[in-house]
């Protein structure tokens, strides 16, 4: 498995629920990785990240994470940590994995 990629998404945790969220194409935060906006390069992603860090008080710890486009053109996590973040714990059926696709 790859560790990282040049293409990035922006992710954070929601201030109230703590849930993992992704900056989506609409500019809002989505709880689904598949909604994430994919930045072609790190520079563009960083510029947007700086804006988010300065403006958004509804989230905690925004950061970049590597992602690639799947065959169906939706962004997929690359590192296994991001895979867990996008699903929930593997020892209990809780978190995002419980939501209908």
């Amino acid at each position: 498995m790859k560790r990282d990629t040049a293409t990035k998404i922006i992710t954070a945790n929601d201030l109230l629920s703590g849930e993992v969220v992704y900056l989506s194409t609409s500019g809002k935060w989505s709880i689904r990785h598949s909604d994430a906006i994919l930045f072609e390069d790190k520079k563009a992603a960083n510029t947007r990240l700086t804006e988010v860090q300065a403006q958004d008080t509804s989230i905690i710890g925004p950061c970049l994470a590597g992602a690639t486009l799947a065959d169906n053109q939706t962004p997929m996590p690359v590192h296994f940590r991001e895979v867990f973040r996008s699903k929930g714990p593997s020892n209990r059926f809780l978190g995002k994995q419980t939501y209908a696709a």
């Binding site: 703590g18 993992v20 296994f80 867990f84």
Partner: protein, 556 residues
């Protein structure tokens, strides 16, 4: 147990109310996350991988039925119906919402509980022997000292911003069940030649990135000198402990870099000044605390039912063979309730199980429960005549697993299933090992074995002191597991040694199986434990079993 005074109750309730205000200000935007973070950490609220985590203090692992029930209520009302007992004798809720935390803390304050100093660079919740006040092998109850240290260290103004977190553990038994030697300060209750009470004080122990065994800084400290001496150690650490590098900021590094002699001299110098500030009020407080820890009023009853049940019920016999420890009262016993049913998450209990434990404690254990650092629950005072009833009640709640001290009674930190610092998962490995050895029906044959798993180098799963330790790492973008052997967290403490290259998720359980099979071949007889064999023969035969056979298997 310690009884909260009106002062204690007010203090805890006030802190909960203050936090409510802080949370409101965070939510309405008056506080930024940078401003809020230290405030939430002071109240045990972390941000983990999928959600917030609230760590509630269970000082020296002691709680009563009402408190356990209140924790179960929190799990049901504000979390997902379960909670996790940690290797620090505390409890963690893994799914609270920020806006609910003030209500949770308020509900806990009503039963004399809180989350203060379960996080941050301060003196953390004090830990102790989970059999304290009950074990036959104990010569003195460590709980009054633990409570005394807790009160002294709570909101201590001078030690609120230490270089890093600071952990103190206390024991009063020659059998160290509190990992004393791996704490920043370890206190062992001792008596001097004249019979006067005091402490052997060790300093600079710790796990994590640089594991170190604590060194004795004072072999006898008179009891009355405890607080000034602790102040002296903390002052020296606060002044010369490194703040430039978080990994070098623990006192173990200070002791290592300066040497125990220099630290001792500095501490003694500071102590001679500190001592003058203490005029005996502390000793009055100690005496008051001590009175709260009087022995329970033991009941006089027949233990015949116990013997009869052992003869007639094989499950009961197996449970009582494995999960009991001798009590100081011969008619009583200490019951360890395993939170490690084969394949379960170590340390997790459902709210229903927590309520059953509360009921059992109230009815049959003088209303006392303990949390062990090994992530089990202890019923410290059970009359042997009540054991069949206790066992039946535990069985009905899925809490009667007879595996204490065996390979499936393993420690595992939450790892990457929850923890944001993790480099790999640990729970899945724990589940896999327990399930595999249950299938093999070998664990009673294997006997006493401590297996401990951490999901990163911070070592919350104490892997360095496992007879077998497993450390989850990342290697080339996948989870990889490194094995250490020969660790020991007891009075014969030693740090485990890395045995060789790591194993993938798929390889690690077969690797542990090869290791155990090698041990079974190598031991002289069933009484020779894994650790003893390792100490007798060294790593080589285990290395061979781990790596040579693996190559063979791959070639086959």
């Amino acid at each position: 147990m310690y009884n909260y005074t009106t002062f204690d109750k007010d203090f805890v309730a006030t802190r909960a109310a203050q936090f409510r205000d802080q949370v409101q200000r965070r939510i309405n935007g008056s506080l930024t996350e940078d401003e809020f973070r230290p405030l939430r950490l002071m109240n045990g609220l972390y941000m983990l991988l999928h959600a917030y985590m609230l760590r509630v203090a269970i000082p020296y692992g002691t709680l009563n039925g009402t408190q356990m029930r209140a924790l179960a209520d929190v799990a049901d009302r504000w979390d997902k119906g379960y909670a996790h007992f940690s290797t620090r004798q505390n409890i963690q809720f893994h799914w609270p919402k920020l806006q609910d935390v003030p209500d949770i803390l308020e509900s806990l304050a009503k039963v004399d509980m809180h989350a203060i100093q379960t996080s941050g660079s301060c003196i953390r919740s004090v830990t102790s022997d989970h059999f304290a006040g009950a074990a036959a092998d104990e010569y003195e109850d460590p709980r009054p000292t633990a409570e005394f240290v807790r009160q002294w260290s709570t909101d201590h103004p001078e030690f609120a911003f230490l270089p890093r977190k600071f952990k103190i553990a206390v024991t009063g038994s020659a059998r160290d069940r509190a990992v004393i030697k791996l704490h920043d300060i370890g206190l062992t209750l001792v008596r001097n030649a004249a019979g006067a009470p005091g402490y052997e004080v060790s300093v600079g122990g710790g796990l994590g990135r640089t594991p170190m065994i604590g060194k004795v800084i004072r072999d006898f400290l008179p009891r009355a000198d405890l607080l000034p001496y602790l102040e002296a150690i903390l002052q020296v650490y606060n002044q010369i402990g490194r703040r430039d590098n978080k990994y070098k900021a623990r006192i173990k590094i200070t002791v290592h870099e300066h040497g125990i002699e220099e630290i001792r001299n500095r501490v003694e110098e500071s102590f001679s000044l500190q001592r003058m500030r203490f005029d005996g009020v502390d000793q009055d407080i100690f005496a008051r605390i001590e009175a709260d820890f009087a022995e329970p009023i033991y009941k006089q009853a027949s233990i015949e039912g116990y013997e009869i049940a052992r003869q007639s019920d094989p499950l009961f016999r197996s449970f009582t063979d494995t999960n009991l420890h001798p009590h100081k009262n011969a008619d009583y016993t200490i019951v360890t309730v395993s939170l490690k049913a084969h394949g379960a998450t170590p340390g997790d209990a459902s709210s229903a199980q927590m309520r059953v434990l509360a009921d059992i404690a109230e009815r049959w254990s003088h209303d006392e429960l303990r949390v062990s650092h090994e992530q089990n629950i202890i019923l410290p005072h059970v009359h042997k005549g009540d054991l069949p009833a206790v066992h039946a009640a535990l069985r009905s709640a899925g809490l009667a697993t007879a595996n204490i001290g065996l390979i499936s009674d393993l420690i595992a930190c939450p790892g990457m299933d929850y923890c944001d610092l993790a480099t790999a998962r640990s729970i899945n490995i724990a589940q896999g090992i327990a399930t595999r050895f249950d299938e093999l029906k070998l664990e009673h044959d294997i006997g006493h074995l401590k297996l401990k798993i951490s999901g990163c180098i911070n070592a919350c799963g104490h892997h360095h002191v496992g007879h077998i330790g497993i450390l989850g790492l990342e290697k080339s973008g996948v989870e990889s597991y490194q094995i250490t052997l020969g660790g020991d967290g007891t009075e014969t403490a030693s740090i485990g040694k890395i045995i060789g290259p790591g194993f993938s998720t798929d390889e690690i359980i077969p690797a542990i199986e090869r290791l155990i099979m090698a041990y079974l071949d190598l031991r002289l007889d069933a009484s020779e434990t894994f650790l003893t064999v390792f100490r007798r023969l060294g790593p080589q035969p285990f290395k061979t079993a781990l790596y040579t056979n693996e190559v063979k298997n791959h070639a086959a």
